[in-house]
């Protein structure tokens, strides 16, 4: 009697193995395809367009223009950034130490004037995220953005330039960035936009 009851209970057990297989297959797929979104110091709301060109994933320099006109600079590749900070360190006599340089090579986007770079790189990453960065200066006398662009292109001549502007950014700021680029012989660049279908455009 007891034996029978046990047998009946056993038969109700589901075979979980195919489900586990499937779940782990999907986990593996998502683990391999995922690319974690880099932490951005400023939130940018891209305008939409019907453009079909996809932005390349590597060799890309991103110039972010925030809604309030602050300009942020970002570049991919840890090695590129290590060399870039060496150049900037020499150019401006910042006397950064190895730990600060290492930290710089791990930052994706920043908007700090060179003068404040020493203090900025002394902060931990959580402190850095909390900090409101003033943006990279683009004055005609000391155009630091131009320096960053020139040195980056020296290190990696294949760099493509992308402008990541906010919908509400006023045109004069965009113009300043574009003319900085053109003055430094970058005449071909990409404007990052969100996808929009032609139908809903009307």
């Amino acid at each position: 009697m007891l034996k029978l009851k046990q047998k009946g209970k056993k038969q109700l057990k589901l075979d979980m193995n195919p489900m586990t297989d499937l779940a782990f297959l999907l986990v593996t797929f998502f683990m391999l395809t995922t690319t974690f979104k880099a932490e951005e110091p400023v939130q940018v709301n891209n305008p939409s367009s019907t453009a079909e060109i996809k932005l390349p994933e590597t060799n890309i320099m991103t110039i972010t223009i925030a809604e309030d006109g602050r300009v942020f600079f970002g570049i991919d590749g840890q090695y590129t950034k290590e060399r870039l900070i060496d150049f900037i360190d020499q150019r401006y006599d910042l006397s950064l130490d190895a730990a600060q340089k290492k930290r710089f090579s791990l930052i994706s986007t920043f908007g700090t004037p060179v003068g404040q770079l020493n203090d900025f790189l002394a902060l931990s990453s959580t402190e850095r995220m909390k900090l409101e960065q003033p943006g990279i200066p683009m004055d005609s006398t000391a155009n630091e953005l131009a320096e960053w662009i020139v040195y980056s292109r020296m290190i990696n001549p294949n760099l493509r330039v992308a402008i990541n502007g906010d919908t509400e950014t006023k045109y004069p700021m965009v113009k300043k960035v574009i003319s900085t680029l053109v003055n430094n012989k970058v005449t071909r660049f990409n404007l990052i936009t969100d996808k929009e279908t032609l139908l809903e455009n009307g």
Binding site: V27, F30, T34, S49, I53, K170, Y171, I178, T187
Partner: protein, 174 residues
């Protein structure tokens, strides 16, 4: 001999016993499935499939010589100017000298229709995009997008000159 048989039967019994034991080692898979689905959910939510789209923009290079002018003369009859005003207002006019200003908007029946009509009418139309200081980035991207949609090959981004601002002011006042 008999002894040996006994041993064999004993191992048989052991085997049977082992078989019984093996059945009892039944691993509960549920926590593993839970974990797998937890990870699956996490990766599904964090993954970003869509890479951002981009508009390609080519600007004319700056002349090497400072005295050299970049401006290429455009035939007045071929120039269609679009003035990007504040608050998503849009104005357009043909030609340069004392043009008739029209008001339009960024819709399919607005600027796109005008661009298509003029593109068909005027041979080698050159669209001069004049973003004013109070226009925003969305306006610029919208217009560049319209260029791509209407297939206009020749267009240039030129800063709005004070004369243009005055022209629009006069139009608004009228």
């Amino acid at each position: 001999m008999a002894k040996k048989e006994h041993v064999i039967s004993e191992t048989k019994a052991e085997k049977a016993k082992n078989k019984n034991l093996r059945k009892e080692v039944d691993i509960d898979m549920n926590p593993m499935v839970d974990l797998a689905f937890l990870l699956l959910t996490f990766f599904m939510l964090t993954t970003t499939f869509s890479r951002p789209q981009a508009i390609e923009l080519v600007m004319p290079a700056k002349p090497q010589n400072e005295t050299e002018t970049v401006e290429q003369p455009i035939k007045e009859s071929r120039a269609l100017s679009i003035y990007l005003g504040d608050e998503d207002k849009l104005y357009w006019f043909l030609g340069v000298t004392d043009p008739e200003v029209h008001f339009t908007d960024y819709t399919k029946d607005g600027i796109r229709k005008i661009l298509l009509e003029n593109n068909a009418e005027i041979l080698d139309v050159v669209v001069v995009i004049k973003p004013s200081a109070s226009s925003n980035y969305q306006n610029l991207v919208d217009i560049l997008d319209e260029m791509a949609i209407t297939g206009i090959q020749r267009y240039a981004i030129v800063d709005a000159a004070p004369e243009d601002d005055q022209l629009i002011l006069n139009f608004e006042g009228a």
